[in-house]
Symmetry: C2
Subunit: 221 residues, 2 copies
């Protein structure tokens, strides 16, 4: 079998993705390339070259936040599990998810909201100014929108929930607020996204922030 080393497989895959982007006439700005290519690597779906929207300097601002060790908060344990441990460790960062926290379940029950929304309220209290990575719940995005409206801002927002109900509206609303308040944001517009996409974007930023451009340096996963 050719290419049995994961680092070789990744290099070959990224070259194939770059070549197919070129063939399809999809032009990706150089500063966004590492993120777009990693999302396509994770999904094999070239639609993300068109779906992903970046606010001004989102990548360099996100990288700067991660270089300071800013923690990441996800809306699912699945996204948390997909974020590179070596990538976090190199920067002295860490990742948290509050979905399984009993306090979050209580808060959701008391407020008649979803656990995802309550988890974002918990995050805003416990670790304000984190990088928020939302791959699942539009209600998490609506909660973040309310936080921004009252003056609480994340270091960065990665907003890529997937779905058919309220998802597109949540992304549109939060993108407008991120632009208004100059919060760096990367969003997958439309229905598509997912915990895997949220993790892939975090990993692309972590690898840039940690100068881990060689896949062999990062290990496998």
């Amino acid at each position: 079998m050719k290419h049995s080393r994961p680092a070789d497989i990744e290099r070959t895959s990224m070259a194939i993705i770059a070549e197919e982007l070129r063939q399809r006439g999809m032009q990706v700005p150089p500063d966004q390339e590492a993120v777009v290519k990693r999302v396509i690597h994770t999904t094999a779906d070239f639609e993300y070259a068109e779906n992903l929207v970046f606010t001004k300097n989102a990548v360099s601002l996100g990288v700067a936040a991660l270089r300071k060790g800013t923690p990441i908060v996800t809306d699912t344990n699945m996204a948390k599990a997909g974020i590179s441990r070596p990538g976090l460790e190199k920067l002295g960062s860490h990742v948290m998810c509050f979905m399984a926290d009993p306090a979050v379940a209580q808060r959701a029950e008391a407020q008649g909201t979803t656990r995802a929304a309550a988890a974002m309220e918990q995050a805003a209290q416990v670790c304000p100014g984190a990088v928020l990575a939302i791959g699942n719940a539009p209600t998490a995005l609506f909660a973040i929108a309310r936080q921004m409206e009252r003056g609480q801002f994340p270091a960065m927002l990665i907003g890529v929930p997937v779905g058919f109900v309220n998802v597109e509206e949540a992304k549109e609303q939060v993108l407008a607020l991120c632009r208004r308040f100059e919060v760096p944001a990367i969003l997958a517009m439309g229905r598509k996204g997912g915990s895997n996409v949220a993790a892939a974007i975090c990993n692309a930023l972590l690898y840039l922030a940690g100068d881990m451009l060689d896949p062999a340096e990062r290990g496998w996963q």
Copy 2:
């Protein structure tokens, strides 16, 4: 905001998916519908209605295995994190991933193979006859193919790795072997797939096996 209860959102989403499948002229056999719809629910990608291949009676055989409490083994901790805990608990089943096992790293090093392949060897020793759910590594599928050739069979194979190198070949090879040895299998042919897709297929089967057809019964995960 309408539809703020997750169970309502899921019901509405599934109705939208069913209607769009109909509009697109995509006919899904009734026994495969729960799996196909859940994968589209997870990805918002209708291509899966055409990519997913089921061996004969794969769904009913997989459901029967899960009803007996057969454990699930994944090739990533991300897929493991995405599998429904209430779904597993209702059936007395559990999910394992050997990727972070130090013995697996040693085995991979000693044999000059990938950790994903070594993890499948570990699984075949520690819990033979499991439901194998592969969302990431084609080398895991090649390892399972070698196991089948020497007479070791999983209860079921969910084979949906994503990628650009060796992925399509691995799926073709393992599908042929599953058909030859009558191992129930669900595969996403082509490049697409992922840990999220592997988890979604497991969850669809768990919900069928546990008669958890009402989303409210399953809670929000």
